[in-house]
């Protein structure tokens, strides 16, 4: 009996040690939900080519930042805006020198396929028959961009009407899209690449060039907690390679600044500036 128990304990310890070693061969990636679809495919391609297992944790940019800070784990940090990456550098999560840009995203109105509500611009979101939701301006990058766009393009009274009309603040861009696809809203303000996520269910309505204040710019960096920085760098290299970028193009993401040109020069990334009233204290 005692012998059997010892065998079980030794067996469990062996599994524990082996699993620990196996983990050392893996990479942990924290990624903003905005890039979930292409990153999933990039990871799958990379795993097939190199045999390196990659685990990805997706979420709103600040939730993944919190996860990284609290767990002190992770190898690669991928976000849709340089200002979030700056915060990650400030908090000691990412090596500044390792940061590289890889994709651009233009804010746009996303509607049901065929645009049945005939939504043509920001002002249409004020209509009584249009159900509208946006991402949370408190902690989701596209939510912050949305608040900034409304502040700059709507009058005070229009903004008040719109704020009352917002059905919900989604906690990430995936959830925002889900609400649209589930027909709980008629329009959301997201990024133009969302048309590539569900091309048979959604369409985009481009904002007028004067309405776009800034565009999102994806960045990836090696995390300070990485146990294998070389491997983390290699994954980022792959992300920026032609193959990696082709995956992003396939999902409607824009690979170059020229692709993302909205008809006028706009800020790339940066911290959106919006009224404090968007955030409830």
């Amino acid at each position: 009996m005692r012998c059997n128990l010892s065998m079980v304990i030794i067996g469990l310890m062996a599994i524990f040690i082996l699993s620990g070693n196996a983990f050392a061969e893996e990479l942990l990636l924290f990624c903003g939900a905005a890039f979930k679809k292409p990153i999933d495919e990039v990871i799958s391609l990379y795993e097939k080519r190199t045999g390196t297992n990659i685990h990805a944790s997706y979420g709103g940019v600040k939730i993944i930042l919190s996860q990284a800070i609290l767990t002190k784990q992770g190898d690669v940090f991928v976000v849709p805006s340089p200002d979030i990456m700056d915060t990650a550098v400030e908090k000691g999560v990412v090596h500044k020198g390792s940061i590289r840009g890889f994709s651009y995203a233009v804010p746009a109105i996303i509607v049901h396929k065929g645009n049945p509500q005939n939504i043509e611009g920001l002002k249409d979101l004020l209509r009584h028959d249009v159900r509208f939701a946006m991402a949370n301006p408190e902690n989701v990058y596209i939510g912050m961009l949305t608040a900034e766009i409304f502040d700059r393009n709507l009058s005070r009274s229009e903004r008040d009407i719109l704020k009352k009309k917002v059905l919900t603040y989604a906690e990430d861009i995936s959830k925002l899209t889900t609400y649209l696809i589930m027909n709980q809203v008629d329009a959301v303000l997201g990024f133009d690449f969302l048309k590539g996520w569900n091309p048979d269910k959604t369409d985009i309505v481009k904002l007028k060039k004067e309405e776009v204040i800034r565009i999102g710019a994806g960045q990836a960096g090696v995390m300070t907690y990485s146990r294998d920085m070389e491997k983390a760098k290699k994954f980022i290299d792959f992300l920026l390679s032609v193959d990696g970028q082709n995956v992003f193009r396939k999902y409607g993401y824009l690979a170059t600044e020229e692709d993302a040109f909205v008809g006028k020069k706009v800020e790339i990334g940066g911290k959106p500036e919006f009224a404090e009233e968007w955030i409830t204290k």
Binding site: G59, G60, K62, I63, L65, S66, I69, L70, T87, K91, A133, N136, E138, N139, V140, V166, L167, T168, Y169, A170, E171, T178, M182, N183, Q184, I279, T280, K281
Partner: protein
């Protein structure tokens, strides 16, 4: 080591596991933030909303669970085993999946009709109550059924042989005997509803001053990389939940005819 000591040591092991987790919160403790957070309009709204939604959903769950549990415990009928198994759905399916199921339901013709008839659930407080009700109704039924199973049917048979109707036997024999078990089940149901997060955020969203319950407020703080604020809200939820549960237990310890 005696068996008594061994079993008690397991109790303390479990206790220290949770106590350790609570104590670790103080690693990010920022004293001044407690009162500021506690008395902010947003937190007070979340607290009231959480208490209200958990209480209403618990009352609804218990209202459905008591007769259901009695039927499952006492009668044989077609589909009984299937129904009994389906009641475990909230335990098998994750809360987020339950929330997704609700969202999908409100996207089908029946769901759309309900919403268009004036009862709005999606992105509304009623959605929180519905999510908590769906998460707890099956569990409440299962808990109360276990209580009913422990009460011998012979007592009801005796009452009926003395002329009591089935309804009278139920209210004068079964319910008084099951009272304590029903209260305990209600407490557990309430606690489960108070902490519910996944289904609630999926169906009702996370809008401050509208559908932000305390568990959602905690998530939103964490989602804003505000660890200290998260800690304060977790401590408020723990104090509130454990405080209320402990008070109810104390009240229940009083002898009924004292």
């Amino acid at each position: 080591m005696s068996f008594k000591r061994l079993s008690i040591s397991f109790v303390f092991l479990t206790f220290f596991l949770y106590a350790g987790l609570i104590l670790s919160l103080f690693y990010f403790w920022k004293g001044g933030l407690l009162l500021e957070t506690l008395f902010s309009e947003r937190t007070l709204y979340s607290i009231c909303l959480s208490l209200l939604a958990a209480t209403v959903s618990t009352l609804l769950s218990i209202f459905i669970a008591v007769p259901s549990a009695y039927a499952l415990s006492r009668f044989e009928f077609i589909g009984k085993r299937t129904i009994d198994t389906v009641l475990e759905l909230p335990m098998i399916v994750s809360p987020a999946a339950l929330g997704a199921m609700l969202l999908i339901f409100f996207n089908n013709p029946v769901g759309i009709w309900i919403q268009e008839s004036g009862i709005i659930f999606v992105f509304a407080v009623s959605g929180i109550i519905l999510a908590q009700f769906i998460t707890t109704a099956g569990i409440a039924t299962r808990l109360i059924k276990a209580v009913m199973d422990e009460i011998p049917q012979r007592y009801e048979d005796v009452a009926r042989s003395l002329g009591a109707s089935p309804v009278k036997a139920f209210f004068t024999i079964t319910i008084p005997l099951a009272k304590r078990g029903i209260i305990v089940s209600s407490i557990l149901t309430w606690a489960k509803a108070l902490g519910e997060f996944g289904a609630t955020i999926t169906i009702a969203g996370s809008m401050a001053m509208k559908t932000e319950t305390l568990p959602i407020a905690i998530f939103m703080r964490l989602a804003s990389a505000d660890i200290e604020g998260t800690v304060v809200l977790i401590l408020i939820l723990i104090s509130m939940g454990l405080g209320i549960l402990y008070s109810v237990r104390l009240l229940m310890r009083k002898p009924p005819y004292a």
